[in-house]
Symmetry: C2
Subunit: 201 residues, 2 copies
DNA sequence: TATTCCCCTATACGAACGGATAGGCGACAT
DNA sequence: ATGTCGCCTATCCGTTCGTATAGGGGAATA
């Protein structure tokens, strides 16, 4: 079984790869430090059985990178790895076609099991982790609101966000107001901070 | 050589521990998921040669946890491990008595070398990583600016911050402008996000 | 002593934000 | 078919922010 691990933290990537490589049934583990490196790797000589992508990594841009990798990987299952992302992100990832979601709070042995499971073509999501999704869904944001929040976190003005999303500025104001209310934030800055803390973006 | 690794991400902690345990000269690796667990571990039957603490971990509270561990560890060297902390934090950690700083961007083999080095009582800090400290120190914030930044991160308005610090609103505007320039932030929201990322506040 | 740096204040103005109100459109469920 | 919900747009108004310009006071340093 051949695995590709992509994570920008050298220490984390190498130790995870090493651990996987020493597990039964896993023949080869290749690594990449960025999404672009990973995209090159899938064009290489090996056909992988599973591709693991870190959610926070240069080139990922949220689930954007997942789409790019799925495009490049063809039938090879792709799954998301993250230490900070929320259950909502995990859910979104799977809905976007990820073969699973591996939080870094998962134990190393469970991780190996999950990897083998996903490589067989089964969708994996840790039950206890996903439980929280239900709770979070109460104060959940819509698709647009999430996109606007993303812009807020990059320090963009309403006008810039409007241009990026091809909308009118007033519409952005509306979304900012509603998402701030949902997050119980007092203003855009506070909303961005809350998003950062909860790793919503 | 006996090592204690404390990190709240199970996957990261276990794989790093496993990697260390398979290295020459390292006889035993014990792990902990929180600072409190780590504090219990140092009271246990083994005397460690080195203690590695994750900077972002329940109980740490920045460098507060380092002080607590140093208190409990006696002569055993303690060092900080982090994937997000800035060179400034690394510098502060060493000044506060840490035996070193290990960024997660470090390669796994370098990490093993660093661990052995620190266990021998030598202070370790990766040169290239610390180089940035010099640059960042140039754009360092003054006391007031830091206080204002703190307010920004709580989503306060200039007026509120002014009231809290017993200053005029215009003064806050001044500080916001200068600290934003120093952080290369485009506005208050961006400044707050940068602060959050770099763990400046 | 002169210089530099941090800190505080003042006035002023255009740009951006926050909120209210009001309406139209499409989708989906009861 | 009616209701609900997400989404987009519009106008309006008061507040806040961002920036510029122009100072004064205090502390440290060369």
């Amino acid at each position: 079984m051949r695995i590709l691990v992509a994570d920008d933290h050298d220490l984390v990537r190498e130790t995870i790869a090493s651990f996987l490589a020493n597990s039964d049934g896993i023949a080869l583990v290749e690594t990449a430090a960025t999404l672009d490196e990973a995209l090159v790797a899938v064009q290489g000589e090996y056909v992988f059985d599973l591709i693991l992508l870190d959610y926070n990594m240069p080139g990922m841009n949220g689930l954007n990178g997942l789409a790019r990798m799925k495009e490049a990987a063809g039938k090879v299952p792709v799954s998301i790895l993250s230490g900070t992302a929320s259950p909502a992100v995990a859910q979104a990832a799977i809905e976007a076609g990820a073969m699973g979601f591996v939080p870094k709070t998962l134990g190393s042995k469970s991780m190996v099991s999950a990897v083998k499971f996903m490589a067989m073509g089964e969708v994996y999501a840790p039950f206890d982790f996903m439980q929280k999704a239900q709770e979070k869904t109460v104060g959940n944001l819509t698709e647009r609101e999430t996109a606007v929040l993303q812009g807020l976190c990059e320090g963009k003005s309403n006008k810039e966000i409007a241009r990026d999303l091809d909308l009118q500025e007033v519409t952005i104001k509306l979304h900012v107001k509603t998402l701030s209310r949902k997050l119980e934030a007092r203003n855009r800055t506070h909303a961005a901070m809350i998003a950062k803390e909860r790793c919503l973006v």
